[in-house]
Point group: C2
Chain length 126, copies 2
């Protein structure tokens, strides 16, 4: 497997360039049918990513409001019991959705780490 | 700020327990109005999290299909140029949605790291 197989060669006049929305995910040897399938999948990934970013923005609006409320009422930024229940729930939802529950948990911990940082910052500002 | 202020005291007969869906995010001193606001925000966070988990599951379905396609056609699991463009796009979307673009980038890198692991596994199996 060549490490550069997906790179566009310098000066390569590949007519597929426009079709793949500026992506270099092709080589001169790549079957146009495969390229078309790859492009379609990538467009779906891009659509899902846009939705994920907007949902994450919405999630942070809510967690910022929680942080503000906690700071105003002198409550600690993190709540281990609540987080434990959230992890259990998300692992169950992940299994139902055929998503690796280990990944779901790691993903959640990554997001919560950011949220707690924000809560600490808000508490400091109050 | 007491580190245990959000913990339910052992044997504490708080009638709010049922109202907060089993959450311990209250203390005997917490104003019921504040508790109600906190509970409402947390329910919204739980709703958004369920949506995020399902969207992540959908994203992984697409990336698994990409991994399968790449493995079948001997293409490398990662594509740095594609990822660079994705990061730029997601940072722009994040700014528009009032989400910290640094967080969006870190979040994306975390997800892609998992995806590449899956692609490598699929390639090994083929």
């Amino acid at each position: 497997m060549g490490a550069l197989a997906l790179q566009l060669e310098p000066g390569h006049p590949c007519v597929a360039c426009d079709k793949v929305d500026g992506m270099n995910a092709h080589s001169p040897d790549l079957d146009p049918v495969v390229l078309s399938q790859l492009t379609s999948l990538r467009k779906s990934i891009d659509n899902v990513d846009a939705a994920l970013i907007h949902l994450l923005a919405e999630r942070f609006k809510f967690t910022q409001a929680v942080g503000q409320l906690k700071a105003e009422h002198n409550l600690p930024p993190s709540d281990p019991d609540r987080e434990k229940r959230q992890v259990e729930r998300l692992r169950t939802l992940a299994v139902e959705a055929n998503l690796d529950p280990e990944f779901a948990e790691k993903w959640f911990n990554f997001v919560v780490e950011q949220v707690i940082k924000h809560h600490v910052e808000i508490a400091r500002e109050n």
